[in-house]
Symmetry: C2
Subunit: 165 residues, 2 copies
Amino acid sequence: MNTDRSVESPHFPQVGHDHARCQSWILQRAEVRCRQEGMRFIPQRREVLEILATSHRSLGAYDILERMQARARRPPPAAVYRSLEFLLGLGLIHRMAGRNTYFACTRSDHDQQIQFWICRHCGMVGETESPVVAGEWQRLSDSLGFRVSSVNVEIEGECITCRNP
Amino acid sequence: MNTDRSVESPHFPQVGHDHARCQSWILQRAEVRCRQEGMRFIPQRREVLEILATSHRSLGAYDILERMQARARRPPPAAVYRSLEFLLGLGLIHRMAGRNTYFACTRSDHDQQIQFWICRHCGMVGETESPVVAGEWQRLSDSLGFRVSSVNVEIEGECITCRNP
DNA sequence: CAAATATTGATACATTATATCGTTTCACTT
DNA sequence: AAGTGAAACGATATAATGTATCAATATTTG
């Protein structure tokens, strides 16, 4: 497995990057993580992840269904949602709540303190991880007496590529 | 109009707080802001906001429809969505993307750098505003070359009241 | 192999949100 | 007060997203 994490160094996916490398990295990591967790990385789940990994854009469940239809035959919606739920559980994909879409995670570690940067123009999604922000959530939750279960940060705007055409 | 902002000082709504005061504050502010913007705070919009302001919990569009039905007559869904869109536009309510719900804003100022704290147990929603986090989004967006349009932060967990029953 | 477990396909349905369009209401002008 | 244009509404239909159920099939385990 490729472990050099080069996939994540440009925080926002660049135009000319070697995407084949991202794809194989995402899929190989999925295999490893499934094995670790004693879960089964069966074809339908793999296909959903493959489809998400074809780009750094997020896709809706029904977009995925259409691409599965184009590849082989269209499963019922519930099948896709089951695979998505599985992949979400392993942290291999994320859900963009603001758009009802899903996309393949490109980070190797999971501190739950990820932020998503979504370009409104091209649809690309980048991920960052900020210790400063994590510390601030800690401070705020302490002061509120709030026990945090999950944090979701979605930042929308225009990416550097779309700003400089 | 009540301008002492006491409504927002306990960042997470407390059990015994004077909610009648919150309600009237929310509605009065809506009137003021509509007048300022030259918009019309007509009955249907007012009713939607009133319903949201009855608690610090967020409600789904169809929850609001049911409560309107209980009050008078049930409008079509689009009517509620129109009012919600209007209120969102004026920043009088927020949308919880993770839950497809809406709730009445309880803050007097709008720096777009609000965080939502949602209790999974009682459904209460609190709001905070952190300059540290705002600064970090600035730093990160600069380093990514990303032009930010909107930031949505939803933190789920358990509030202090539900932790100490 | 048999039993237990996990996954699938098929069907139906639930929930959330939007499109369209003719009518009504409102604010403003005369 | 009546006319006028813009805004809002009601009614209807439908789109988009997501779940529930359950029998049938595949996979793992004993």
